[in-house]
């Protein structure tokens, strides 16, 4: 029982990071039908900045805002340089463009920094645990969960209560109709990328803290988890993205504790197989958005 509870908290901690990533993916997907394979670069680039900052005597108090701000800026730059040029193109083109951006960034770091691992210190409180009864709760998980709740509440407020949120939701529902109603497509798309970058930045803070190091391909895992979580939840649904992230985090932690010792390192493989099965039996994801075929 206490092991299950322990795993639940652990899973929610992981899942929260995935949820933030997935929400960022879903916001962009909603607005321009782009499944962003370059979402992980919003962690790779701040990751290298973190490494650079620590080498120049910064500390976590200053690095955290650096991560968030640089993620937002990176997101906006990628939109400007690449995605703004393929707006409205076929899904095939959009997918490959984002894939190409991912590849350029990681190959660029390989070319100009190095293939080797770049380490930096984790925060001092990272490994601390709190003993509650028979549970040993990681402080890190608690911080992640708390921050995620706050950020999600803020995002909900932004989407539900502000003009920007209204424009964004309208554009996601029907881009052309929203434009005809006076929503400025440029600014709403840029806003979506900024929001996506901000969410990735928050997730990035925790991801970067947890990893303690950065490599040119550091973006692949957060990208995959974010994309998969968004798909699990049901593409196009923001609530689904958050749910998908939590589900993915829990599935990983629970599978790892249930699988026999010999094949524990196949956890990721099993998660993938489960996801594939989910798509096969529920192609739209958990909260599928009904797709009506237009004639």
């Amino acid at each position: 029982m206490s092991e299950l509870l322990q795993n639940l908290i652990d899973g929610l901690g992981r899942g929260s990071i995935y949820a933030l990533l997935a929400l960022g993916v879903a916001v962009v997907f909603g607005i321009m039908h782009l499944l962003n394979f370059a979402h992980g670069e919003l962690i790779t680039i701040p990751g290298y900045l973190t490494y650079w900052a620590f080498n120049n005597g910064w500390n976590w108090w200053t690095v955290v805002p650096l991560i968030v701000v640089s993620a937002v800026i990176t997101s906006l730059i990628i939109e400007r340089v690449a995605f703004s040029r393929v707006r409205g193109a076929s899904d095939f083109t959009l997918l490959l463009t984002s894939f190409g951006v991912h590849f350029i960034v990681s190959a660029g770091f390989l070319l100009y920094v190095s293939a080797s691992v770049k380490p930096y210190p984790r925060p001092t409180w990272f490994a601390k645990t709190l003993a509650v009864g028979s549970l040993n709760i990681e402080v890190f998980d608690l911080v992640v969960i708390a921050v995620t709740v706050v950020v999600l509440a803020g995002t909900t407020w932004l989407l539900q209560r502000t003009m920007f949120g209204l424009a964004l939701r309208a554009a996601a529902a029907d881009f052309d109709a929203a434009r005809l109603m006076g929503v400025k497509s440029d600014s709403v798309i840029r806003g979506a990328f900024a929001l996506s970058g901000f969410l990735a930045g928050i997730a990035g803070v925790f991801w970067i803290m947890r990893e303690g190091q950065v490599t040119p391909t550091a973006g692949i895992n957060p990208m995959l988890q974010g994309v998969l979580a968004a798909l699990i939840g049901g593409l196009g649904s923001l609530r689904g993205a958050v749910l998908g992230g939590l589900a993915l985090g829990l599935a990983e932690v629970l599978l790892r504790s249930w699988l026999p010792v010999g094949i524990q390192n196949l956890t990721t493989g099993f998660v993938f197989v489960m996801i594939a099965l989910l798509f096969i039996f529920r192609p739209g994801g958990l909260l599928s958005v009904p797709q009506v075929e237009r004639v």
């Binding site: 499944l35 690449a82 040029r85 393929v86 193109a89 076929s90 899904d91 095939f92 083109t93 997918l95 490959l96 463009t97 894939f99 190409g100 951006v101 991912h102 590849f103 350029i104 960034v105 190959a107 660029g108 390989l110 070319l111 100009y112 391909t217 692949i220 995959l224 994309v227 998969l228 798909l231 593409l235 094949i263 390192n265 196949l266 990721t268 493989g269 993938f272 197989v273 996801i275 594939a276 099965l277 798509f279 096969i280 039996f281 192609p283 075929e293 004639v295």
Partner: protein, 619 residues
Amino acid sequence: MFPNARRDIAFPVIGSLVLFAVLFGGGMIYQTILGNGSAERLVTTMLVDAIIVIGIQIYIGNTGILSFGHIGFGAIAGYVFAVYAISPEEKLKRIPSAPFGLSDIQVSPALAIAIAVGVTLVFAFIVGIGLARSGAQSGSVAATVITLALLFVTHEVAKSWPELTGGNRGGIAFGIGESLKGRTPILAALFAALLVARIYGQSRSGKLAIAAREDNLAARAMGVNPLVQQMIALLISVAVVSVGSSLRVWQIGSILPDRFFFDYAMLTLVMLIVGGRNSVTGAVLGVAVMTAARELARRLGQDGFEIFGIGLDEAPLDWVFRENLNSVVLGLAMVAFMIWRSSGILEDWEFDQWLYQKIGRGQEVEPQRLAELDSVPETIFAASGINVSFGGFKALTDAGITAAGGEIVGIIGPNGAGKTTFVNVITGMVEPTEGRFSIDGADLSGKPAFELSRNGLVRTFQNLRLFGSLSVRENIEVSALVANEHRADRTIRDVDSLMAEAGLWEHRDRRARELDYGNSRRLELARAAAMAPSFMLLDEPTSGMSDSESLTMIEQVRHMAATVGAGVIVIDHDLGFITGISDRIYVFDQGQVIADGTPAEVQANPHVQAAYLGSAAIT
């Protein structure tokens, strides 16, 4: 299988030979000029990459579904090949505790390749079912993610199952007993891959898969089941990729999980996309171009390299020309092509088809006009008691029509009358809450769209759905291919005659998307007629046409229907057009049939006048 043996078999064979000669010849010239071992290795690598890229083209090119998973299939094939091909002594060193008693087995490389293909095909079939279930179609995101997941799963398994795969670290690579000497197996496989890819592209299955790539819904309406064609394309494509991957392992002499992962998936995809994913010629061009570009980038990255006597090691440029430049080149090539030329250098230009147009087909003569059939086959379409509710809203109440073969039946009604819902029901797009429809008593309600058209109910679309990048002739050929299989008991008209009949003869080689509006409408009509339908269902065939064009359309619909012996059910809101064309008319209003009869009877009906002119007309 093949509508035209000369065009679909003979010329593709010639084309494959030429592509093979160009790729291999170009490689030999390069190798001879440089005359060193590294040039030789580069050419060999290029030839092996070509086999794999051509294999991937068979799937991505013909179905339009983006797959990262083919390199995952390649990994499966590569490992199976390696485990079977290496000697027991070698296995004792690398994988002493291999499962399934594999540690004692050794077979010849050729047999090992065959086993690799067989095993991989089993996996491909399972993944293919998953793709079909996820509703894969051109550009679909879920399908792409499933293939991406496959790539990651194979990589994970390869890393975490060292008993079988030797694991992830250096030094645990397989050394394959006798490594590949000479290129004969590679050359043979390359030629075979070209042949398979080209002939599949021209085959019935290839044509139908391409039709579904162009417009999934329209293909289904023409009796194509895209999922079946996609599965066939997947299996053939994976077989070719498996052969290529086995040869890759054999040629390198070892296998590691990372050899068949992200980087290689990226390389092969870029090769495919740069040349033009929809053509085999494009795939081959892409392999050549990207191999050259990467080699150039690699050499520029090395110090001491000169081009045209100018050294590039000057300080100002040194920050660009560094090692690993070739990886950046890959990423840049992909993004640049996606932004500026997303269908690649050649788009879907195919060498052998170009050659056929130039020299292969000789003089074509416009066929005579078709005679109308003497007797129309007796057949009855009947829909009755159709009810459809959306939530609480009743879109259709007890609606029904009948139509006989050879008859033209019009359906008309103001906006919101339920015409579109009715069409959606009898085309299989909307499931009725109650009611059924049938042809000659055979119940068709609830059947998928492709079953309906195979049973003789063939539709057109209000907003034109042609197979855009196919030629006019190919558009009609798709229907004819399906008709030959499923409508053999009817009079099937020949493709050329139908084209002439529709006034499209002079446009026969143009792409459908280049046609003007009127010709597009006529092509849709001819494409439906080529299905040898019992009934043609025309959804607003004159929308967007002028009055005089509508009048011409009436003649064309009548004549076209008479030449294939079909009845016509036509939906429109243009009263003049409907009364001009129909033998009988059904008038819909507020989800019900409020009147039916000859045009004159219907026009005199006070309820109809009320619906059209307002209730004041009655009183």
